[in-house]
């Protein structure tokens, strides 16, 4: 793999981490309205998957979707302005953290309804087939979402119609405050794929290179017209379900332990070993990211708060 690609992936994982840390900080200061769900600890999944996508491919994101949108190329300023609920945000401040969509990037929208985005991803995939192009759709969702009917309806239909979609389950072991063993009898959710007639794979979602490698195969398959697949990436949610969640349902030991699976440290270690990076490079990357975030936050804070003039706009065309 090219060094630039590896460094870009490193940059993006670090960027997602630092952006979300900053969002948590700002949220705690009361400057961001609404709900925030961070994906800290899960960065390898969107970065691994999106590094295998083309810019014109589609991505259906989730409520925990900051990383997914950024990895697909979301502009940090417009992204941050949306989190702040400002006019210059991707959705003019009507979406917020839970509903970001970036039409120009094929990011078709985070969803506040668990499993709600899965059927919609069939539609962009269908549009590719209908129009005779080879744009692939990646549809993200959590482990909890695989218990929704939409998951099952969608996998069945996608397989039946051979749609170019890769279903990507970001399995962080939790659905809100409920651990996986309380919400399903299965250990590997990817085995569900077989019952719909598509391949399913479970990978270490804390290893960005493994995620990328597997995603590349499945995306290439979809692009060639060989149909959908299910990629389960096992990872960990470091923080609470939402910003401000005290996680009383989780042991202090577990909260500490999951940090030992840090996908960023793991990748950095590898890049350092291979001499693609040295500690100074990491510092520089951190500094670059910090200034980008500072700039984006300043942009968002300067962006106007939407006024009443937009209230009735876009209910209809």
């Amino acid at each position: 793999m090219k060094k630039e690609t590896l460094l870009q992936m490193h940059y993006m994982m670090l960027k997602i981490r630092r952006v979300e840390e900053r969002i948590l900080e700002i949220f705690a200061q009361g400057k961001i309205p609404g709900f925030i769900h961070v994906s800290i600890g899960q960065e390898a999944v969107p970065v691994g998957v999106c590094s295998a996508l083309r810019p014109d491919d589609y991505l259906s994101n989730t409520h925990r979707g900051h990383g997914q949108a950024l990895a697909k190329g979301a502009d940090l300023k417009r992204f941050m302005a949306e989190i702040y609920g400002r006019k210059d945000g991707y959705c003019q401040g009507k979406a917020g953290s839970m509903h970001i969509a970036c039409n120009d990037l094929g990011v078709i929208g985070s969803n506040g309804v668990v499993g709600g985005g899965i059927p919609i991803s069939l539609g962009t995939a269908f549009a590719s087939v209908y129009k005779g192009n080879d744009r692939v759709t990646v549809c993200f969702f959590g482990d909890g979402a695989t218990n929704e009917g939409t998951f099952h309806e969608s996998l069945n239909l996608a397989a039946l119609w051979n749609l170019p979609v890769v279903f990507c389950c970001e399995n962080n072991g939790w659905a809100e405050f409920t651990p996986q063993k309380v919400h399903t009898k299965l250990e590997n959710l990817s085995i569900r794929a077989e019952s719909y007639g598509m391949p399913g794979v479970t990978v270490d979602g804390n290893d960005v290179l493994i995620v990328k490698e597997e995603a590349e195969k499945l995306i290439a398959r979809a692009r060639k017209g060989e149909g959908p697949s299910l990629l389960e990436c096992k990872t960990h949610r470091w923080f609470g379900h939402f910003a401000g969640d005290a996680q009383k349902y989780r042991s202090a030991q577990e909260i500490e332990e999951v940090k030992s699976f840090d996908p960023i440290l793991k990748f950095q270690k590898l890049l350092l070993e291979k001499k693609h990076l040295n500690p100074k490079d990491i510092e520089e990357t951190e500094a670059k990211i910090k200034s980008e975030i500072d700039e984006a936050v300043a942009f968002a804070e300067k962006s106007p708060i939407p006024g009443i003039e937009g209230l009735l706009e876009n209910v209809y065309t």
Binding site: C91, G116, I118, L122, G123, Y130, S154, V315, T317
Partner: protein, 323 residues
């Protein structure tokens, strides 16, 4: 002009719009090879092929979601949901996804999507195949709700719905599928959001929807023999509501009856009554009266007691006049 049945007027609309616009496709359970559970999509597969006429598994949420995703990419899906009652199993997709996509994402997408579905009793289809649930959807900003009563309107409105860049819930009526009526030979549209005065009159306004338009016209004929001139307005579109046509009529008659087949309680009639009361109470010479079904599920073999009919309209009109 030519005479066609309501169901064939639908088929014609689909045929013409598919021929006119390559981005229109039809999707639903039993719509392709079987030609539709009520035969609305008959012949489309033969004409347009499997790419554009799609049979699906029994997965309403997946069907509507797929249509939404496709609509955001410039396609114009026409979904058939076999019975209106089954909208319940794709409610999230319709209410939280389809209706909100444009607004929630700040206008980044257009959602030109039509969901066709038949409502109504009269076929002894029982409590889970006979409901009129249009008021649920009219309550959701972002959806348009259309409910035609005649072959002419069903064709013109379906064509207009397919050409509309917003999501439209297109509510047909099973009991009307066999109804015959005249339509022009040439291409025509009926605008969404425009009610139609089906019979002018000066004494009482009856605003009716779907099957109750015909019951109200029958009532008007009966009442005419007694010297009472009823104005029958066919709402045609539930949302957006054509206030203007209703207001103009009530200004003239000062008496209003609303008639629909859905249960009377919390229905479209309540909205119209409230709107008229809010904005033109001084015009009224009598309380606004509603004709609707009783507050029960649609009973299988007691439909004759359940379904509102022309006699109910006659009674309401007389009550309004007697006030």
């Amino acid at each position: 002009m030519k005479e066609v049945r309501y169901i064939r007027a639908i088929t014609e609309a689909l045929n013409e719009e598919m021929a006119r616009d390559e981005s229109v496709f039809v999707i639903g359970e039993d719509v392709a090879y079987p030609g539709g559970s009520f035969s609305a999509t008959r012949g489309l597969l033969e004409e347009f092929g499997e790419r554009r006429v799609k049979d699906t598994p029994i997965s309403e949420a997946a069907i509507v979601g797929l249509a939404l995703g496709a609509a955001t990419q410039g396609l114009r899906p026409v979904v058939e949901i076999m019975f209106m009652d089954f909208l319940t199993v794709c409610m999230d997709q319709i209410v939280n996804q389809v209706a909100k996509t444009r607004y929630m994402f700040g206008g980044q997408y257009q959602v030109p999507l039509v969901i066709r579905t038949p409502c109504g009793g009269g076929l002894n289809a029982g409590p889970q195949h006979s409901q009129c649930l249009e008021s649920w959807f009219a309550h959701v900003p972002g959806l348009k709700v259309v409910m035609p009563a005649t072959p002419y309107d069903v064709k013109g409105l379906l064509k207009a719905s397919i050409r509309d860049d917003n999501p439209v819930l297109f509510v047909e009526n099973k009991a009307l599928y066999g109804l015959k009526g005249e339509i022009p030979e040439e291409d025509y549209l009926v605008p969404i959001g425009k009610a139609d005065v089906k019979k002018p009159g000066k004494d009482v306004t009856v605003v009716a929807t779907s099957r109750m338009v015909h019951q109200s016209l029958e009532a008007a004929r009966t009442l005419f023999e007694e010297g009472i001139e009823v104005e029958v307005i066919d709402l045609r579109t539930i949302s957006p509501l054509d206030k203007e046509t209703i207001f103009q009529s009530v200004e003239k008659t000062s008496r209003l009856v609303v008639a629909h087949e859905a249960v009377k309680t919390f229905g479209v009639g309540a909205e119209i009554a409230a709107m008229v009361a809010e904005e033109m109470i001084d015009c009224l010479d009598a309380p606004i009266l509603r004709v609707g079904a009783p507050f029960t599920p649609v009973p299988f073999n007691l439909e004759r007691f359940y379904l509102p009919n022309a006699e109910d309209v006659v009674r309401a009109v007389k009550k309004a006049l007697a006030y």
